[in-house]
Structure formats: C-alpha cells, structure tokens
Point group: C2
Chain length 303, copies 2
C-alpha cells in the first residue's frame, strides 16, 4: 500500500486562509474493500469555492469538517481496483481532495468517472471540459444567452472559468471583455485567450475609474456579465449595463474573506430591467453533460 | 369649451415632493381638430413611478418636462369626438395626466382605449384590471411563477399592485404574506384583500426585526418576492429566501426621494441561487393583454 500525503483543514481561517490553517500528514492507503478503487491523483483543481467551505457557517453546502482531507476536484489514474467497472490504468476524474491518493466507492453515483484522453489531455478535465468549463458554459448559455454582436464581460478573466468563457462567447460572435488583476494577466487574456479587451482592476481601483474603463472597452454597453468577484467591480458593471442585460452570479470572491460587500445601487436592476441569477454548477451537471459536449473544440486554447 | 384645471410640474423636488413643486392653472379646453377626442376624467391613478419622472436625470423614461401637465393614467368619458372610433359617452382609459380634461389624438396607437363597464366598474381599469393589475400579474406569473403551496411576499401590500397580487397568488394556491405600513393597512390586507399575514414595517424598522417577523410569517421560507420598496426590507427578505427563490423588482420606492439604498449582502444571490429581475410593465402590455384576461374575476375584491 503506497503512503499518502494528505492536507487536512486543521482550524478555520479568519480572513485570508494561511498555511497554518492546514496540516500535512502521511498515512498508508488502506487495503481496498470489495467495490472500491484506489486512484493516484495527477492534478488537483484549486478553486475559489473552497474558501467558503472553510468557514463554520453553512452556505449552500456543508462546511469542510476539521481534521479531514480538504475537498477538491482531481484527475488521475486507477492504480488498483476491486470494482468491475474500473481497471488499473483507467484515467478518471473525481473529488479526491487535497491528497496524493484517494479510495473511492466505485458504486457511489457520480463520485468517479472514466475519461477519454485520446483527444483531450487529462488536465483539461479540471479545466475547459471540466467543472470550470461547464461553469462558463452554464452561465453564458443558460443565463446570459447572448445574441451575436452583443458585448459580454467576465471578471477573473484569466482563470479557468474566464478562459473557457472567452472561447465560448467568441464562438457565439460576441465582443468579450475581461477584468483581471495586473498587466501580465490582462496581456495573457488578450494575446492567448482571445479576449477583445481586458481591464486591469489594479489600475482602476474604484467604481468611478472602473466604470470609465468599462465605457471605453464596451462602447456599445454591456449586455451580459459573468460575475466571479462582486464588490465595486459589480457596481461599475451595473452602471454600464444596457436595458435587459443579464448577470450570471457564479462567485463573489471579493467578499469571501470578510464581511459582505454591499451592492451600492440595486435600483439599477429596475432602471435597466436587469436579470441577475446566481447558480452553482454542481446542481446542473446533468444538463451540462447532455448539452455542452461541443465545448471542448471551442476551448482548446482556453485550458 | 369647458374650462380645465391642470396641475403642472413647476420645479423639481429635492427629497420628498411637496405642493410647492406644482402649479394649478385653469385653461379653456381647445377646439378639437379632426381625429381628436375630448375626455373628461373621472379618476386619476397616483403612482410611485411619478416621483422618478419628477427628477431631472433620465431613468428608463424621459423626465417630466417643467411647465407641463403631470403625467398620469386616467379613466373617464368621451364628451366630444372628431374621431369615428370614439363617440360621446364612451368610457375610456388613457394617460390623461393631472387635469380634468384631456384632448387626445384618437389615431395615436395605445393612447386611448374604450373599456366595457357592464361587468367591471370604470375605476377598476386603473386598479385590478388596469396597469396595477397587469403589473402584479406580470411579476407574479412571468417572473416569480409560483407553484402551489409556495410562499410569496409583496411589499406595499395594501396598494393597488399588492392587492391584485394577493388575489392572483391565492388563486394559485400560494401562502401570501404582505408588508405594509401601520396596523390599519395590515388589517385591511388580511381582512379584506385575502393575505394570509401582513407585517407592519413600522413595528420592524430594521433588518434584524424584519427578518424575524418574516421568519414567523413564512415558516417554510420565501419562494417569491414582489419588490416595491427596496432598502432594508429587501435585505431582510433575501435573508429568508429559499434556494431558487425569485424576486420581481417593480419598484424601489424607499430610494426615490434621495440617495440610492445599497443592498447589504448580494452574496445571498449566489448562496441561495436567486433570480432577481427588474421589469417595467408598459414594456409588456401586449403580452398582458393576450394572457391575463382572466385576472378580473380573481381580483374582484382586490380593487
């Protein structure tokens, strides 16, 4: 049985999470029972939602228990199997957590899924064709539903979700504008990911300057916005929305470490007849699996 | 030609509108030109949107021009006509404004509409089967779309929109909870309008006490909310929303007289996967005319 390095949540962060909130332990992987599968992880997806799980209070999901392996999406390879559906060498995606190996009940629905890596590299199943990709797909196509020629914006543009969003929105004939932190990320968004423009929020640290930058980057106004951050960036975007714009709320990272950040002018929801909708992608995976198989080829460069 | 008392907007209010913002003038109604109709108003609808029009800044509509008759929905009777479609004695609904008579171009689309008062009293065309009624219908059926047994809430519950909302929601098998100002309005909402409960916001003047009152009045949480007021009431309602609740934003009266009122915790949009949608009923009149003819019989007691 190989030894397994695991990262546990040791205590709950106040404000930003730091190394001292976690504990590294080394254990032996247990002998498999009938129906179980041992997976060696090749990649772990580190995602913003994890910060919410570290809090004590219940959000839309239960908090991460203390003293247990941190939750996280993983891709890897089956190294031992006592389940007829899985065999050694299978490439799989699952929620293996922050550890090198995981033991998975092969019968538990949705816990472990074989993936085909002949055309798509394994790591992409944590990116463009994984949870971030379907997140972008769901928000863009099911909430924003842009028409050709419309302008759509996304915050955290250079991340896994933002990059898939750009590819999907460009394929639909939209002008795509990103918001990211720092000149490197912005250059990467435009040069590599296909954004038409990308605004550096560090250069525009308040509502007024951000709204000005958005006006320049979105001369025809904003028809759709994919929200990952919240705070003053959301305030600025709403000021530039066209009538009947749609806002998909996927994350509000800016408030994850502390007190809630208010929305300064909710009356704009009425004035501009906005539709604002929050969603959690794990509740829509079935729809995504049925509908978004074509995402991969639009998103090659986005992973 | 009868003489016509008219109320003009004389100057723009700062804060609450007061009598000094208006001017009463008496003019003679002009001689009719070909195609015109002279209407004597029997009722004027005094609505919250008017406060927004009194401001200089453009909202979703142009501001009310100074020195002109204040805008407003009216019902009345044709007293003279030079249009073949209208004859003396016809009962009509239109946007006659704050005056006793209006001269209307009978050819202008949607400006004047004959109504049938054999089964529905004339005044109801400014209430349950008029703009407030279709407003309630649109928000409830097209945005909130409640299922039987769900709990739906409305602010400004004892007003024209709130009363129609109660009737429509009860007809759909919902628990209907109102929010209104003062014990008289709340008693009226429960005893006369059919609300299952009504919360007096004057007794619950902050988020915490309002959220507590909502918890008691909505033991199964809130599935739909029709927003007329904004401010801390909206904050409190969002705290009590169930997952996938819908919020129809029709008005934000609380902020009409001054600075915008922030929404304290927009992260709830994500946590509770809310859908929040603003709408202006005049943009949906065609749909309403096609779809909501049955509202009248559900709303008899609501006008």
């Amino acid at each position: 049985m190989p030894s397994n390095r695991q990262i546990l949540l040791d205590n709950r962060p106040e404000g930003e999470a730091v190394a001292g909130n976690f504990k590294l332990v080394t254990t032996d992987t247990p002998a498999l029972k009938e129906g179980e599968v041992l997976v060696r992880h090749h990649y772990l997806s580190l995602d913003p939602y994890m910060r919410g799980r570290m809090n004590e209070s219940k959000s839309y999901a239960q908090p991460q228990p203390l003293g247990e392996v941190m939750i996280g999406g993983t891709v890897g390879e089956v190294v031992e199997s006592k389940h007829p559906k899985f065999k050694t060498g299978d490439q799989v995606v699952g929620m293996g957590g922050w550890q090198e190996y995981s033991v998975v009940d092969g019968n538990a629905p949705g816990m472990l899924r074989k993936v085909d890596t002949t055309h798509v590299p394994l790591s992409y199943y944590l990116g463009a064709v994984g949870m971030p990709g379907v997140t972008a797909w769901y928000g863009l196509t099911q909430i924003i539903a842009p028409k050709e020629g419309e302008t759509v914006v996304v915050s955290a543009a250079s991340g896994a979700v933002g990059s898939a969003y750009a590819a999907l929105a460009k394929a639909r004939g939209c002008r795509v504008v990103g918001i990211a932190g720092g000149p490197e990320k912005c250059a990467y968004a435009v040069d590599e990911l296909g954004f038409d423009a990308c605004i550096d929020y560090r250069q525009h640290p308040d509502v007024k300057t951000m709204a000005k930058a958005l006006k320049e980057a979105c001369p025809n106004g904003i028809d759709g916005y994919f929200e990952n951050v919240g705070g003053y960036i959301l305030d600025a975007v709403l000021l530039r929305t066209n009538a009947f714009a749609r806002v998909a709320v996927c994350g509000m990272i800016a408030g994850y470490d502390g007190a809630p950040l208010p929305l300064q002018n909710p009356a704009l929801i009425l004035v501009n007849r906005l539709k604002i909708e929050g969603f959690i992608v794990s509740e829509h995976m079935e729809l995504c699996r049925r509908r978004c198989r074509n995402s991969a080829r639009w998103s090659r460069r986005a992973s």
